[in-house]
Symmetry: C2
Subunit: 344 residues, 2 copies
Amino acid sequence: MSPDARIAVDAMGGDEGLAVMLAGVAHARRRFDGMRFFLVGDEERIRAGLANHPNLTAASEIVHAPDVVASDAKPSQALRRAKTTSMGVAIDLVKQGRAAAAVSSGNTGALMAMAKLSLRTMPGIDRPALAAMLPSLGETDTVMLDLGANTECDAKNLVQFAVMGAAWARTTLDLASPRVALLNIGTEDMKGTDIIREAAALLRAADHLPLTFAGFIEGDRISRGHVDVVVCDGFSGNIALKTAEGTARFVADLLKRAFSSSIRSKVGFLISKPATQLLRDHLDPNNHNGAVFLGLNGLVVKSHGGATEVGVAHAIGVAAKMVRDDLTRRITDDLAHFERQAAA
Amino acid sequence: MSPDARIAVDAMGGDEGLAVMLAGVAHARRRFDGMRFFLVGDEERIRAGLANHPNLTAASEIVHAPDVVASDAKPSQALRRAKTTSMGVAIDLVKQGRAAAAVSSGNTGALMAMAKLSLRTMPGIDRPALAAMLPSLGETDTVMLDLGANTECDAKNLVQFAVMGAAWARTTLDLASPRVALLNIGTEDMKGTDIIREAAALLRAADHLPLTFAGFIEGDRISRGHVDVVVCDGFSGNIALKTAEGTARFVADLLKRAFSSSIRSKVGFLISKPATQLLRDHLDPNNHNGAVFLGLNGLVVKSHGGATEVGVAHAIGVAAKMVRDDLTRRITDDLAHFERQAAA
C-alpha cells in the first residue's frame, strides 16, 4: 500500500451509525500501521466524534456529504442522490483516484447500484458480485460469490462470477487453477434449476479458463475445503451465508447452555476457556466482516450493517489488504490474459 | 397408533442400502413399543438380512419388490417403474390403506413424484412440500418447508406451503395461530424476488387464515424461535438446511480441534464431556432425520440418503408419531374448516 493511499470510509452507514464506524476506523488505525482515511459524511458530527479518537486526527481527512442513504432506500432512489450521500461521495473518491478503496456498512443494493454506475464493470463482466473469503477446514479460505448483490442471475452471470472468483483465488490464494463449484441442491447433473444446469454446461465446455470446474456442491460442503470457489446467485448465497452465521451462533448458544448445565461442566468450561475463547473468536462474524464487489474498476468493500467496532475494523483491513495486493489491476490483467488466450 | 397399524419401509433405498435400513428398523422396534412394519424390497435379501435382527421377525411382513429406484434416476424414469420398485410398492401400501405411513431414504424427486401420483394432493393443494421440525432456541421446534421437493415455486405455492405448515404447527405444536414467515434476503418489503413479494402480499391480505403472518425472515434467524413456520421454495430451503447441517458439523470439528489444542483444554474437555456429549447428540442430523411430504392424502416420510441406523430409526419414529397424531386427517380437517370459514 503506497504511503499516500487512503481508504474512503462511509462514516454514516450501518445500523449503529457514526460512533461505531469511527470506533472501527480508530481500531483499524491501531492495527494497521500507516493506514490513512477519508471520513465521509456530516462534517460537524464527524469532527465532534473524532474527539474520542485522537489517533485518527492526523491520519484522516473529513469529506463532507450532507445526506445519508436510508437502510430501506431503493437503489433507484439512492442513485438519484448519489452525489450528496456519504456512500456516493466515498465511491466517487475511488473513481477520482483519490481513494484506493471505499468501505461502507450501508444498504447493499444502493452500494451495488452506485458503485456499478460510478466505477463501471471490468471488460467482459456484466454485473459485479459480492464476494468474501469464508473460513474452511481446508488449507486456504474459500471464496464465495454472489452473497446478495444480484437476487436473480442467468447462466452467463454465474459463469462470469466463476471467472471472477477464480481470478481472486489465483491472485490472493496462490492457486494456479482453483477448483470452482456451483452451489446446488444435489450433485447429480439433473439437479437444480435450468439456469444452474446451463451454467454447468458452459463451465464444463470452457476448458480454456484457468479454473478446474468441480461440478455442483451442496450447502453442507461449503466449508469443507474441497473446493476453492463456490458460485451462486445472490439470493441463495445470502441465504447460505446468513444461515451459516445463524447456525454458528445457535451452536455457540447451545454450548453455553451445555457448559452451565452442571457444576462439573462449569469447572470443565473454566479450565478449557482459552480453547473455547479461540473458537468463539474464530466464529464471530465480525472477524470475517468485509465482502468485496468483484468485477468493478475500483475497490468497494461492504461491511455488515450490524458490524461492531471490531467488525468495521476487519472490513477496513480487508480493503487495505486488497489495496496492498493491487487486486483490481491483477484481476483485470488476469481476465484480459485469458480473454486473449481464448481468442487466440 | 392402532395396534394393527404398520409402517411400510423402503428397505432398499439410501446410500448405505439394505443393512442400514434393517438396522434402523430394528433400532426403532426396540425404541417404540408395538411398532410393526412392512419391509419392502428384494425378498431374498431382506430375509437373509433379518437373520441379524431377531426382534423384527414377528413384527414384520416382507413385501417383495424386484426393482430399486437409482439415486440419480429422473422422477419421470422412476414413475414408469413405480409398480415394481421398493419405493413405489411402499407408497402403494399406504394408498391401499394397508400401511399407515411409508418411509424411504431414496431419491427425493422420485419419492415426491410417486407419492403425488399415487396418493394425490389434499383439496386446495397443488403441490406437496417437504417439511421438517427443526430445533430452535424457542419453546417449540420450528416447522420449515419446502426443504427440496419443489425446486421452483410460484407465489400461490408458497402461500399453500404457509397454510400447510401452519396446519402442522397447530396440530402438533398446539399453537392456535402460528407465526409464519417467508425466508428472504432482508426484512424490508422491497427485498427478494417478485414471487416472494407477491406471496407476502397474498398472506398479508389473507386475514381469514389461522396464522399470524410475520413478514420476511433472514437465514440467521431461522433457529432463533421468533417464528413457528418458515416458508420457502425447495431450492432455498435445501440450501439453508444443508448449510445449517454443514455449519454445525464445522463448528463441532473446530471445537474438537480447540479441545485437543493443549493439555489444559484436554483436561477441561474430559471434565465437561457429559455436557458436550449432550450438545453433540443435539446437533447430530441423524437425531433430526425424517421430513414429511405435507399436503398428500397419506403419510410419506423422507429419510436422509446418508442416514445412519440411528437416523433411520428417528425417521421411522417421526412417521409413527404422525400416525399416532392422525396427522393427515387433522390437517385435512383443519384446511377444510378454514376453507369453509373463508367461503362463508
